[in-house]
C-alpha cells in the first residue's frame, strides 16, 4: 500500500517517458491520474489508520516494529563488510500519526500542483517526469522508517527540484536553483555523516546487528556503550544533534539559513512554489520530529530554549521582512518563514499542546500557503508582474478572486474560524505552558500583529482603494457607466477560471472546515504526539506546577 502510494508517480513518469513529447495533453492527464491515485490511496490509508496506536518508538513488549502501521519491511541491501560486520539496509516503510498527516498533505498538494502545472508549455514531457520523480521522493521521505532509505529519498528530492527551478524558473533561475542546491546539499552531507555514526552505535534488538532502522534508533536502550554516538559520548552526541539540526533547519528554513527560500520562490514557477512551500519545508520540521529529537532526547531538552529562540526570531524577523517587500511572492515567501517559526516554537515547547500545534501548523501552513502561492500565480499570469504597488482597486473588478484572496490572507494571519488560527493558538498555548519557553512565547505573540500588518497592508494596496495611476491594467468605462478592466496580452477570463477554481475551492473548504472542527486531523495526531512528548521530555511533565 505504502509502496504503491510512493511509487505511483514514478510509474506515471515511466509511462510518460513512453509518450511522445508532442502529446502534451496525454502527459498531463497521466500525471494527473497518478496524483489522483495517490489521493485515493492516501484516503484509503487514512481510513485504515488506527489513531490509537502511537508509533514513534518500539512498543514495549508488543510488535517489534513499534506501533507503526502498514509496515512494509524487507531487507534491501545487505553486504558483508568483513571486519565491519554485515551492512544491512532495509526497505522499511510505515506510518504513524506524525507521518500520516504529512502523507495526506503531500497527496493533496501534489494533485493541486499537477493542476496548476497545466499552463506549463515549455518541455512538458521533461517537466512532468521530473515532477513525478519529485512527488515520489516527497512521499517516500514521509513514510521511510529506515534512515538510509530516508536519506535516499531526501537526496532524490533535491535533483528534480534543482532542474524544475533551474529550467522552468524565472529570469534569475540558475542562481536560485544553485543556491537551493548548495544549501540543501550542505545540510545533507552532514546528515550522511551522522547517519553513519548512528549506524555504528545502534544495535537492532531483533537481529543483533547494526541497523539504520529509525524505530530501533529512537529507543535509547539500543545504543551501544562506548560507541561514537553511544549514550556515554556526550560531546559527539551534541555535535551530531547540532549538525543534524542544521541539516533540517536549512530545509525549514530557520533564520540564518533561510535566504535560499525567497530566491527559490520568486524564481520558481507557481506549481513548484506550491510544492516547495506546501511540502518541502515541512520535511525539515518532520525530520526534526522523526529523527533529530527522538534520537537525541537529552540534547533536545538541553537545546529547547535555543530552538525556541530561533523560532521566535523566525516569526518576528520573517514578519518584518515580509512587511518591507514590494514583490508579492517574496512577501508570501517571507510569510512562510514566519509561519514555520511557529512550528519551531511549538516543537521547542516539547509538550503535547505545543507539538500538536506545531504539527497541525505544518499541515495548515501546507494548505494555506499553497493557496497563497496559487493566488499569487493567478495575478502573475494576468499581469506578468507581482509588484504590490502596481495594482489597486482590484476588488471592484475581480470579486471572486478577491474573495479567495481574503480567505487565504485571513487564514494566514490566523483568523479564528480558519485553520491557521488553531495551530498558532496551540503553539502559543504549549510554549507558554513551559517556564523555559514562556518569555519566548510572550515575545513571539507580537508576530500575530505584524503578520496581520503586512497581510492587510498588501491586501489594501492591491485590492482596495482605487486603481493606481501606474497600474498594470487598463480601465475603461462603457456607455452604461460600468467600469471594465483588462490586462495587457491576457486573453483568458478576467476573474478566476474553472481550472483555478478547481484548485482553490478544495483548499478553501479544507481551510475553513479544519478551522471550525480540527479533530479529523488532530485526532490522528494526539496519540503519537503524546507518546513523542513522553519520549522527548520527561522535564515537560515536571514543568507544570
Amino acid at each position: 500500500m505504502l509502496s504503491l502510494i510512493v511509487f505511483l508517480p514514478i510509474i506515471a513518469g515511466l509511462i510518460i517517458l513512453a509518450v511522445p513529447s508532442s502529446q502534451k495533453q496525454i502527459i498531463r492527464i497521466v500525471s494527473l491520474l497518478a496524483a489522483l491515485g495517490q489521493g485515493v490511496l492516501a484516503v484509503l490509508i487514512w481510513r485504515q489508520y488506527d489513531p490509537t496506536m502511537a508509533g514513534i518508538v518500539a512498543a514495549s513488549g508488543g510488535s517489534p516494529f513499534g506501533s507503526f502501521q502498514m509496515i512494509e519491511k524487507i531487507p534491501w541491501i545487505s553486504l558483508d563488510l568483513g571486519s565491519f560486520g554485515p551492512l544491512n539496509i532495509e526497505y522499511f516503510l510505515g506510518v504513524d500519526g506524525i507521518s500520516i498527516t504529512m502523507v495526506l498533505l503531500t497527496a493533496l498538494i501534489s494533485a493541486i500542483g499537477v493542476l496548476s502545472s497545466w499552463t506549463i508549455q515549455k518541455q512538458v514531457k521533461g517537466y512532468f517526469i521530473l515532477y513525478n520523480l519529485l512527488a515520489t521522493a516527497m512521499m517516500g521521505c514521509f513514510v521511510a522508517l529506515d534512515f538510509f532509505l530516508f536519506y535516499v529519498f531526501w537526496e532524490l528530492m533535491l535533483l528534480p527540484m534543482y532542474f524544475l527551478i533551474g529550467i522552468w524558473g524565472g529570469p534569475n533561475r540558475e542562481y536560485a536553483a544553485i543556491k537551493f542546491f548548495l544549501y540543501t546539499l550542505f545540510g545533507s552531507v552532514f546528515m550522511l555523516l551522522v547517519m553513519i555514526g548512528l549506524y555504528f552505535s545502534v544495535i537492532d534488538p531483533l537481529t543483533g546487528h547494526h541497523t539504520f532502522s529509525l524505530v530501533a534508533m529512537a529507543d535509547q536502550a539500543n545504543y551501544i556503550k562506548g560507541a561514537i554516538l553511544g549514550p556515554d559520548s556526550v560531546t559527539w552526541r551534541y555535535a551530531a544533534f547540532i549538525v543534524l539540526f542544521v541539516g533540517f533547519a536549512i530545509k525549514v528554513p530557520m533564520f540564518p539559513f533561510h535566504t535560499w527560500l525567497p530566491d527559490a520562490h520568486v524564481e520558481a514557477p507557481t506549481p513548484i512554489s506550491v510544492i516547495l512551500a506546501g511540502v518541502l519545508l515541512k520535511l525539515g520540521t518532520y525530520g526534526m520530529m522523526r529523527i533529530n529529537f527522538p534520537l537525541f532526547p537529552e540534547v533536545f531538552q538541553a537545546g529547547m530554549y535555543v530552538i525556541g529562540v530561533f523560532g521566535a526570531i523566525n516569526i518576528i524577523y520573517g514578519a518584518f521582512c515580509a512587511l518591507a517587500q514590494q514583490d508579492l511572492k517574496k512577501m508570501v515567501a517571507y510569510s512562510s518563514i514566519s509561519h514555520m517559526g511557529y512550528v519551531l516554537l511549538g516543537l521547542a515547547a516539547a509538550n503535547s499542546e505545543g507539538m500538536l500545534g506545531a504539527l497541525y501548523q505544518m499541515f495548515n501552513h501546507g494548505t494555506i500557503t499553497a493557496m497563497l502561492f496559487l493566488l499569487v500565480g493567478v495575478i502573475y499570469d494576468r499581469a506578468h508582474s507581482r509588484q504590490i504597488d502596481k495594482f489597486g482597486g482590484l476588488a471592484s473588478y475581480m470579486p471572486v478572486y478577491t474573495g479567495f484572496v481574503t480567505v487565504a490572507w485571513f487564514a494566514s494571519l490566523g483568523l479564528p474560524g480558519l485553520s491557521g488560527f488553531i495551530s498558532e493558538a496551540f503553539v502559543f498555548v504549549g510554549a507558554f505552558r513551559e517556564e523555559v519557553t514562556r518569555p519566548i512565547a510572550i515575545v513571539s505573540v507580537l508576530g500575530i500583529v505584524f503578520g496581520a500588518a503586512y497581510l492587510l497592508w498588501s491586501l489594501q494596496r492591491m485590492f482596495l482603494g482605487k486603481r493606481k495611476p501606474d497600474a498594470l491594467y487598463d480601465l475603461e468605462v462603457d456607455a452604461h457607466g460600468h467600469e471594465h478592466i483588462h490586462f495587457h496580452d491576457w486573453k483568458g477570463k478576467l476573474d478566476l477560471d474553472a481550472r483555478e477554481l478547481t484548485m482553490l475551492i478544495p483548499l478553501g473548504i479544507i481551510v475553513i472546515a479544519l478551522g471550525i472542527y480540527p479533530m479529523p486531523v488532530m485526532g490522528l495526531l494526539t496519540t503519537s504526539i503524546n507518546k513523542l512528548v513522553q519520549v522527548l521530555a520527561p522535564v515537560a511533565m515536571s514543568a507544570v506546577h
Binding site: I178, K179, L182, Y183, L185, P256, H258, T259, W260, Y317, F320, C321, A322, L323, A324, Q325, N351, S352, E353, G393, A395, S396, F410, L415, P416, G417, F421, A425, F428, V429, F432, R433, R438, A441, V445, I448, V449, F450, A452, A453, Y454, L456, W457, Q460, F463, L464, G465, Y517, P518, M519, M522, T526, N530, V533, A540, M541, S542, A543, V544, H545
Partner: protein, 745 residues
C-alpha cells in the same frame, strides 16, 4: 440532555450565520439583493431571543439563574503531565446573557430594517446584509460562549466583520485605511487578551470560565499574585482594544467611515460594548490592582474623549467620541466595582446611542451625505420624527432625570464616589472627578450638536463650493444636487421610535431617580470576587483593610445606617460580600447614591447651560472663544494628536525596522552566503571551464572541508577519464601504504 433554552439559543446563534452564507453566495441572484432573507432570519432569531428573555428574565425572576451546556471540541488524549485533556466549547445562559442577547438581536434587527432604507441603491447592497449577518453571528457567539477560547474566537470574528463593514466603501482610501487601522489596533488589544488567557490556561489547563473561577477560588493559582493581576490587566487589554479605551481608542472615530447603520450597530451599541461585557464576565478574577488600572483608564478615556467631542464638526465623529467617552464610563464603573451599574449603562447606552446614530444617519441621508454640522441647522421642522427621537436619546446620553441614561450613569458615579472613599481618597478621588467632568462635557457637546443640527436656520448654502459634496461617495446612487430635505421613510423611522422609547426610565426602573429599584439591578448583581484581596500578595489591600474596618465600625454605630443597610437588603443590592473590600464599596456606593444624583444633575445642568450660553443665546461667541484659547482648541480639535504620535512612533517605527531588517536580510545574511559562494568561485576559476564553476566550487569546497589537497582536486575537474584513473591508482597506493604501516605495527 440539552436544556430547551440552550437549543433555542443555538438556533439564535446560527440563524444569522445562515443569513450570511446565503447572502454572500447568492446576493446577486436574489431579488432586492436578498435583504428579505437577512430580515426574515434576523426576525426569527429576534422572536426566539425575546422568548428566551421572557423566559429567563420575567418567568424565573432570579439573580442566580444560569443554564450551561458544553461539548468536547478538541480531545488531546492522555497528555503527559496533565492527564486526559479536552478543550470544551459551550453555552451558558444567565440573566446577563439573556439581556445581552435580546438587546443585540433587537438592535441588529432594527438596523437591518433601517438599512433597507439607508443603503438602498448601493452597488453591494446584498453583501452589506451578509456582513451584518456574520457580525450578528459573532456577537451572539461572544454573548453566549462559556469559555475564554471561544470568546476569543468570536472576539476576532467581530473584529473581522467590523473590518469588512468599515471598509464597505473600500474604493475610498480613507475607508481602506480605517478598516486596516481598526483591525490592527484591535489585534494589539487581542494579543494582550490572548496572553491573559494563556496565563490562566497555563495554570489550569482549561478555558472555561467556571472552572477557572473555581480553581482560583480554591487557590490553585500557583504563580505569584502579580501574575494574576497581569492576567487581569491583559484580559482587560482585549476590552481596551474592542471598547476603544485609551490608548487604543484611535480606531473608533475613523471607523465612522463605514455606513451609518454599521456605526450604530457595531461601533456604538454592540461590538464596542463587548469589551465591557467581557470584563464583566471575568470580573471576579480581577485583583484590586487590576481594578485600579481599569478604573483609571476608564476615567481618563471618558474625560479625554469628551474633551475631543466638543470641537468636532462631523456629526458622526461627535457621536463616536461620545461613544468612547461613555464606554469609558462603563469601564470606570467596572473598575470601581460598580459591576451592575456598568452593565446597566452598557444596556441603556446601547439603546440611546444606537438611536442617536440612526438619527444622524437619517439626517445625513436626508442631507444627501452632508456630515458636517456647520452646514446643517433648522432641521427640526423638516424632520419632526427624527428630531423627537434624537432629542430623547440626547437627553438620555446627557443623563437628565427621567431618562434611562440618568439611572445608569448616576449609579456608576455613585460607585465611583464610594470606591474613592473606600480606597482612601487622595488620587482615587480623581476618578469620580473625571467622571463628573465628563458628565459636564457630555451635556455641553450634545447641547451643541442639537442646536447646530436642528435649530437656527439652515446653513447649507454657507458651505464652500469646493468642499461641496466632497464627502459623497461615488458608488452611492444619489447625485449631489440639493433636493428639499424631507423626513425619512417609515422603515428608517420605526427603529428610531423603538429605540427612543427604550431610552425612557420606566423601561428599567419604576423610580426615575434610582435604577437600583429596577429589575436590571436586581437581576445583575455584583458577583463575589474569587481573589483574596487581603494578604501579602496585594499590598494595597494591606493599606485599606484597616480603615475599611474602621468605616464598618462607625457605620454600624450610626443607627441611620442600619435601616439603610436593611433597605439596602430590601432593595436587593446583592448579598453582603465576604470580601471586606467589596463589601465596603457596595456599602459606600449606597451611601453616596444621593450625593451622586445631586452632583450629576448639577453637572448636566451646567453643561446644558454652557451649551445654551454658547450656541443659543450667543452670550459668548464660540468661534471667538476658540480663537482666545486657540492652543487648547487645536489640541482638542486634533484629538490630542494621538494619531500623529502613534503614526510617528509605532507605524513609522515598525516600517523603518522592517526596512532595516529587509536590508540586513538581503545584504548581510544573504551577502555572507554569496560571499561563501564567491570563495567557491575562486577555487573554481582554477579549473578553467566557466559555466560549471559553481558546481566545481561546491566539489572543491567539500574537498577542502575534508582536507584533501587542493592541487589534486583541481586536476580532478578536467573531465578526463585518465585523471580519475590516476586518482584510483593513487588511492590504491594509499591503501598499500596503509597496509605497510599496518604490517609495521
Amino acid at each position: 440532555m440539552m436544556h430547551s433554552l440552550i437549543q433555542l439559543s443555538i438556533a439564535v446563534l446560527l440563524l444569522p450565520l445562515l443569513s450570511f452564507v446565503v447572502l454572500i453566495f447568492f446576493n446577486r441572484r436574489l431579488p432586492r439583493g436578498g435583504d428579505f432573507v437577512g430580515l426574515g432570519l434576523l426576525g426569527t432569531s429576534l422572536a426566539i431571543s425575546l422568548y428566551i428573555f421572557w423566559n429567563v428574565i420575567v418567568q424565573h425572576y432570579d439573580p442566580a439563574f444560569s443554564v450551561a451546556w458544553n461539548f468536547t471540541w478538541l480531545d488531546f488524549g492522555n497528555v503527559p503531565g496533565v492527564g486526559p485533556l479536552q478543550i470544551k466549547m459551550g453555552i451558558v445562559i444567565d440573566n446577563l446573557t439573556a439581556i445581552m442577547l435580546a438587546m443585540v438581536n433587537l438592535i441588529s434587527f432594527l438596523v437591518h430594517l433601517y438599512s433597507t432604507g439607508y443603503m438602498h441603491g448601493e452597488k453591494y447592497y446584498g453583501r452589506f446584509f451578509a456582513y451584518l449577518g456574520i457580525f450578528t453571528f459573532s456577537m451572539f457567539g461572544i454573548v453566549l460562549s462559556d469559555n475564554l477560547f471561544s470568546i476569543y474566537i468570536f472576539w476576532e470574528l467581530v473584529g473581522l466583520s467590523s473590518y469588512l463593514l468599515i471598509g464597505f466603501y473600500f474604493h475610498k482610501d480613507s475607508a481602506a485605511d480605517a478598516q486596516k487601522k481598526a483591525f490592527l489596533t484591535n489585534r494589539i488589544g487581542d494579543i494582550g487578551m490572548w496572553l491573559g488567557i494563556l496565563i490562566l490556561y497555563s495554570q489550569f489547563h482549561t478555558f472555561g470560565y467556571q472552572e477557572i473561577f473555581d480553581h482560583i477560588k480554591n487557590g490553585d493559582f500557583h504563580m505569584s499574585q502579580a501574575w494574576l493581576t497581569a492576567a487581569g490587566v491583559l484580559l482587560f487589554m482585549g476590552c481596551v482594544g474592542k471598547s476603544a479605551q485609551f490608548p487604543l481608542h484611535v480606531w473608533l472615530p475613523d471607523a465612522m467611515e463605514g455606513p451609518t447603520p454599521v456605526s450604530a450597530l457595531i461601533h456604538a451599541a454592540t461590538m464596542v460594548a463587548a469589551g465591557v461585557y467581557f470584563v464583566g464576565r471575568i470580573f471576579v478574577i480581577l485583583t484590586p490592582d487590576a481594578l485600579h488600572v481599569i478604573a483609571f483608564i476608564g476615567a481618563f478615556t471618558a474625560f479625554m474623549a469628551a474633551t475631543i467631542a466638543i470641537t468636532q464638526h462631523d456629526i458622526k465623529r461627535v457621536l463616536a467620541y461620545s461613544t468612547v467617552s461613555q464606554l469609558g464610563y462603563m469601564v470606570l464603573g467596572l473598575g470601581v466595582g460598580a459591576y451592575s451599574a456598568a452593565l446597566f449603562h452598557l444596556l441603556t447606552h446601547a439603546f440611546f446611542k444606537a438611536c442617536l446614530f440612526l438619527g444622524s444617519g437619517a439626517i445625513i441621508h436626508a442631507m444627501h451625505h452632508e456630515q458636517d454640522m456647520r452646514w446643517m441647522g433648522g432641521l427640526y421642522k423638516k424632520m419632526p420624527w427624527t428630531f423627537a427621537t434624537f432629542m430623547t436619546a440626547t437627553l438620555a446620553l446627557a443623563g437628565l432625570p427621567l431618562t434611562s441614561g440618568f439611572l445608569s450613569k448616576d449609579a456608576i458615579l455613585a460607585g465611583a464616589l464610594g470606591f474613592a472613599s473606600v480606597e482612601g481618597g487622595g488620587i482615587f478621588y480623581l476618578i469620580p472627578a473625571l467622571g463628573f467632568g465628563a458628565a459636564v462635557l457630555t451635556a455641553f457637546y450634545m447641547g451643541r450638536q442639537i442646536w447646530l443640527v436642528f435649530f437656527g436656520e439652515s446653513r447649507t448654502h454657507l458651505k464652500p463650493a469646493e468642499e461641496h459634496g466632497h464627502d459623497a461617495h461615488a458608488a452611492h446612487g444619489h447625485d449631489d444636487h440639493h433636493h428639499e430635505v424631507h423626513e425619512v421613510a417609515w422603515n428608517m423611522r420605526l427603529p428610531l421610535v423603538v429605540l427612543a422609547t427604550l431610552s425612557v426610565f420606566i423601561v428599567f426602573s419604576p423610580d426615575p431617580l434610582d435604577g437600583g429599584k429596577g429589575w436590571f439591578m436586581h437581576l445583575i448583581q455584583t458577583p463575589a470576587t474569587v481573589v483574596a484581596s487581603t494578604g501579602a500578595a496585594h499590598e494595597g489591600a494591606g493599606l485599606h483593610v484597616p480603615e475599611a474596618g474602621k468605616l464598618l465600625a462607625e457605620a454600624h454605630t450610626d443607627t441611620q445606617h442600619v435601616e439603610a443597610a436593611a433597605s439596602h437588603e430590601a432593595e436587593g443590592h446583592g448579598p453582603v460580600f465576604a470580601d471586606p473590600r467589596q463589601a465596603e464599596i457596595a456599602h459606600m456606593t449606597h451611601e453616596n447614591h444621593y450625593t451622586a444624583i445631586k452632583l450629576s444633575s448639577i453637572m448636566v445642568v451646567i453643561g446644558i447651560g454652557m451649551a445654551l450660553i454658547f450656541y443659543v443665546f450667543r452670550f459668548i461667541d464660540p468661534d471667538k472663544t476658540a480663537q482666545a484659547i486657540r492652543p487648547l482648541y487645536l489640541y482638542s480639535f486634533n484629538k490630542w494628536y494621538w494619531d500623529e504620535i502613534y503614526d510617528a512612533t509605532f507605524i513609522k517605527g515598525s516600517i523603518l525596522i522592517s526596512k532595516i531588517l529587509a536590508w540586513f536580510d538581503t545584504n548581510i545574511v544573504d551577502g555572507i552566503v554569496n560571499g561563501v559562494a564567491t570563495i567557491f568561485r575562486k577555487f573554481a576559476f582554477a579549473n578553467g571551464s566557466f559555466d560549471k564553476y559553481v558546481v566545481d566550487g561546491l566539489v572543491n569546497f567539500t574537498a577542502f572541508t575534508v582536507q584533501t589537497t587542493g592541487a589534486v582536486f583541481r586536476k580532478v575537474q578536467t573531465g578526463k577519464v585518465q585523471t580519475y584513473l590516476v586518482m584510483v591508482v593513487v588511492a590504491v597506493l594509499g591503501y598499500f601504504a596503509f597496509y605497510l604501516v599496518h604490517l609495521m605495527k
